[in-house]
Assembly symmetry: C2
Homo-oligomer: 96 residues x 2
């Protein structure tokens, strides 16, 4: 359930002693949604990730990379048996 991006955001936010409510306000979303994003119960949109990075003064590319990794993981998680092989195929085409 937990994901890379949410954990990272929570870590950054707590390091700065900011409240969920404050980050949520900056994104203009409900605090509840922000809570879900940090706990990996909801996915953030790309724009939300960018906005979070800006508010937390974090590296945008780093957060987006975690966000994409989460998406990949949720794609493969249901197919553990063939995931590795599929990743190899996808990766091969990536290098082209």
């Amino acid at each position: 359930m937990v994901n890379h991006l949410g954990q990272k955001i929570r870590e950054l936010r707590e390091k700065k002693s900011l409240l969920l409510r404050q980050v949520a306000a900056h994104l203009e979303v409900d605090t509840a949604l922000m809570s879900k994003i940090e706990r990996g119960e909801r996915n953030a949109s790309k724009q939300q990730v960018i906005s979070i990075a800006s508010f937390l003064k974090a590296d945008e590319e780093e957060l987006l990379t975690l966000w994409l990794a989460d998406k990949i993981e949720s794609t493969i998680v249901e197919e553990p048996k063939i995931a590795y092989e599929a990743m190899k195929i996808a990766n091969k085409n990536l290098k082209k």
Copy 2:
């Protein structure tokens, strides 16, 4: 637009000189949909892949692997810049 699974299905189907209509009938879907699946314009569901494998006497796991690879690729295609790094993260967790 083209994808691994569709290409493979088309290749197998043509090798057996079967019509789209015949495969579609076995899946109980419209021929148009089968055409779209082969050309990568639509994704097949997991059950459809299984059914296609059975009808074409192809290796089910192989087709499902291509199907999953397509899903991964469509996840990362919009983010070419960070895709490789994200794949590395996802892959690391896979090994656990």
